[in-house]
């Protein structure tokens, strides 16, 4: 067995232990920097590299070489080609070369009944043509546009997958698979009703919002299902709208279908990782109710309180503030990592990740050195 293969085995065992509630031999680490960061770190043009993926292999090689991580640092990525072919409005590349999501309305308030009757029909017939210009026009053209887009995405994903395979073989990362889905309420908000739209809907037609969440739940379960639940990996669910809701709207509109989603996935034998965005401190008692060993990566909150309330049942992650890497000294950055280790590692169930992804790199700034120092520190000192 090569050294890299042995490292993969060791890391896979660490994550298997972690996900099943056993205390692993050390605290695993995922580099919070992304492909966008890696391209800038290599000194290349962000937009060009996202179109010409052949440029990415040396980018990833340098990225993996320079920053310690136990998992492959190329998480969920939006590649521009198929969005461009489809005439996307909800996902576009900004002037800086980052793929971003402006607030859009894919579904009108008067279309709730249509959506509730058949969510997938409504998505195909009404919502996609509103958000993606390529879904409009002559049927033949639409069919060809869709075919081109799917082929482009399939090629891009295959290419990125090949790079990932090479890096795993060279650096011995844990080999994890993932599926992406959303809480039904967040799905209704993000691309369908918009932040503004859903904020009015929860007051104007709460019954319809609740019915739409129920109607779309089977799609969200299907979308979050792994090819095989016994494989090492997890369903990733980024959580969005809950902190912006009143407690009673959360309790009646957000929580019920979200809880069913996580419970269903867990009952299929899958791990679930929540990205708990923004401030969920007032909802910790709800989160406690989720199935044992749900992975919760927090963006915000008091680490002590989170550990105390959730740390014996669930797997805690996140909370490391990436803005500190921009503004702090190396010592301050390392001290913060130590502080979180001291609070979160005892007793197990801790995975080192940061509070958010790092996508932007200011060449003259301290982020590269600070990030390296923190990752190395946790690698060397990450005992439970």
């Amino acid at each position: 067995m090569t050294d890299a293969a042995a490292r993969t085995n060791e890391r896979n065992q660490i994550f298997r232990d972690l996900f099943s509630g056993k205390t692993p031999k050390r605290v695993p680490i995922s580099n919070p920097a992304t492909q966008d960061f890696a391209i800038q770190h290599a000194g290349l043009d962000l937009a060009e590299c996202q179109w010409d993926l052949t440029k990415l292999e040396p980018v990833y090689d340098k990225f993996c070489q320079d920053f310690y991580t136990d998992t492959y640092p190329g998480g969920s990525i939006r590649i521009p080609s198929h969005y461009q072919i489809l005439g996307s409005t909800p996902i576009v590349m900004s002037s800086s070369g980052f793929m971003q999501h402006p607030d859009v309305v894919g579904m009108l308030a008067e279309e709730y009944d249509q959506f509730i009757a058949s969510p997938y029909d409504c998505i195909v017939e009404t919502i996609l043509p509103r958000l993606y210009t390529g879904f409009n026009g002559e049927p033949g053209k639409v069919a060809m546009t869709l075919a081109k887009a799917m082929r482009a995405q399939s090629d891009d994903l295959a290419y990125l997958g090949a790079i990932r395979g090479k890096m795993n073989a060279k650096y011995g990362f844990a080999t994890m698979i993932g599926a992406l889905t959303e809480a039904p309420f967040d799905f209704m908000a993000d691309f369908l009703r918009s932040f503004k739209g859903i904020s009015g809907d929860v007051r104007r037609y709460p019954d319809k919002v609740a019915a739409a969440c129920e109607a779309v739940l089977p799609l969200m379960i299907k979308k979050g299902t792994l090819p095989n639940p016994s494989m090492l990996g997890y369903t990733f669910i980024p959580l969005h709208m809950a902190p912006y809701l009143r407690d009673k709207d959360f309790a009646t509109l957000y929580w019920p279908t979200f809880k069913k989603l996580v419970e269903t996935l867990a009952s299929m034998g899958q791990n679930v990782q929540l990205f708990v965005e923004q401030d969920w401190m007032r909802y910790l008692d709800y989160l406690y109710e989720l199935p044992e060993n749900t992975i919760m990566r927090f963006e915000y909150g008091d680490a002590k309180v989170i550990k105390e309330k959730l740390g014996k049942k669930h797997i805690i992650s996140g909370l490391y503030p990436v803005t500190l890497l921009q503004t702090g000294t190396k010592q301050q950055c390392v001290d913060k990592a130590k502080e979180l280790l001291d609070i979160l590692a005892p007793g197990g169930r801790y995975w080192w990740q940061a509070d958010k992804s790092i996508i932007h790199l200011e060449a003259s700034g301290p982020v590269v050195e600070n990030l390296k120092a923190v990752l190395d520190y946790v690698h060397e000192n990450g005992t439970y």
Binding site: V92, S94, S95, S96, F98, Q100, H101, P102, D103, F195, K196, I198, S199, G200, V202, R203, R204, M241, P243, Y244, L245, R246, D249, R282, V322, T323, Q326, T327, I358, I359, H360, E362
Partner: protein, 212 residues
């Protein structure tokens, strides 16, 4: 005559049906511009209640967005009867999401609340270059510039925008407030802004303090 106290309370409660019924009935009486001004003022007081409830954690951001929407609906209904008098403005603000960033939810909440509070708001939209900020400041001479962003790269863009205002000799003519997920005191200093906020209601208070 419309019950202004009741209207203020309805705005505070975000009771859409009551507000719209009252405003529609009021407009139907063909009121004077002065009376319409009083109605606008009552609505603004209602918004102050919304802000207080937000600070007390009874309302959340979703409620602020809904409040902003209700207010702009109300102002639209009142416009025909308001046009006979010059509307009193507290000051003017140029806002935008800075270069490289397309996130506008926070900016829009702040913009609609500032408008409801009586500011003239010039919204430059998203992915706004430093030069676009400079041009608009030259044109409308606002008291305040508000820069918004969600990505960490927004910090650099905000700094570039302040630098551009400096170079154009405009920095001292305006107060600058920055808002959004990545801003904090350190970032504020580094950028050279006058204030920062992650909370639209608080940001509005800061701006109101500046133009008093």
């Amino acid at each position: 005559m419309i019950d202004l106290q009741l209207l203020t309370q309805a705005v505070g409660d975000l009771d859409e049906n009551t507000i719209l019924t009252m405003i529609n009935d009021f407009v139907a009486t063909n009121p004077s511009g002065e009376d319409a001004q009083k109605v606008v003022f009552a609505c603004q007081q209602g918004m102050a209640i919304v802000g207080e409830l937000f600070e007390k954690n009874e309302y959340y951001v979703g409620d602020l967005i809904f409040a902003g929407e209700l207010l702009s609906k109300t102002i639209d209904l009142l416009k025909p009867v308001l046009s006979s008098v010059a509307t009193q403005k507290f000051g003017s603000i140029v806002i935008g999401t800075v270069a490289g960033d397309l996130h506008d939810i926070g900016k829009n909440i702040f913009g609609s609340m500032a408008e409801a509070a009586g500011f003239d708001v010039y919204d430059l939209g998203i992915d706004v270059s430093p030069s676009a900020f400079v041009e608009k400041v030259k044109e409308v001479k606002p008291q305040i510039v508000g820069m918004s962003g969600v990505l960490t790269l927004a910090i650099d863009s905000m700094k570039n925008t302040v630098d551009a205002l400096n170079e154009a000799g405009l920095r001292d003519s305006v107060k600058i407030i920055i808002g959004g997920n990545p801003v904090n005191e350190d970032a504020c200093k580094q950028i050279g802004a006058d204030a920062f906020t992650t909370n639209a209601a608080e940001g509005l208070k800061t701006c109101q303090g500046w133009v008093k």
